[in-house]
Subunit: 133 residues, 2 copies
């Protein structure tokens, strides 16, 4: 999502206002990781690529954010991992979702649907302003 505001949105506001902070859904990366891993177990480097499909800022996806989230999810028992030394290149940690993680994703989906409703209602309320816009 990142949802970094485009330059033409920034007007004269201080630059830091444009740094992705205008639209991010907090911790949205968490359900994205869980969904991707449910679709197909994977390692972090791979997930970094696949996250782009959810609208996260493509060019510079931050590895720090991805790995720290995976670690936290593992600490909380939402995913589990094991080292995978097969295949070329350095060893990678293969993650899969636990049943607790599935439940968490289910909860997230409820919240996300609630958010869709809230945002739609906001959008309609804006349209209702008519001339005031």
């Amino acid at each position: 999502m990142c949802g970094r505001m485009h330059d033409n949105h920034c007007h004269d506001r201080p630059l830091q206002r444009c740094g992705c902070s205008g639209s991010r859904i907090e911790r949205f990366i968490e359900p994205c990781l869980l969904l991707l891993l449910l679709e197909k177990p994977a390692h972090g480097y791979d997930l970094m690529e696949r996250l782009k499909e959810f609208g996260f800022d493509g060019e510079n996806q931050d590895p720090g954010v991805v790995y720290r989230n995976l670690r936290r999810l593992e600490d909380e028992g939402m995913v589990r991992s094991e080292w995978d030394t097969s295949g070329p290149g350095p060893a990678r940690r293969l993650y899969e979702v636990t049943s607790e993680g599935k439940e968490l994703l289910r909860a997230w989906v409820e919240v996300i649907r609630q958010n869709i409703a809230t945002l739609k209602s906001f959008s309609e309320r804006y349209d209702a302003l008519g001339d005031l816009q």
Copy 2:
């Protein structure tokens, strides 16, 4: 929105995970304030009440967050205010939206619509999991 996860979502996760941090849209209060003020100029205490209409946690709406956001918006020229000593009770600051603020709201609405699309696509992708859910 707050979107505080209900208790039944929390399972065994540490409590702090339930503190509204699972679903908040970052800075969503900003476009809400702008929209409310466009509908009708108002003071902070009044806005605190009206914010509930957007799904912000009803019971304990935080005055600190509201007033600080209003101040920041004013520093940035998105709203302007003047003291209003008419009416009963202590003096209140009456806010109204500037033309810059209108533009910012327009930008926010674009971002919000993009977010709706992203969340919908996530929700559909989750449904497509089928048995894996």
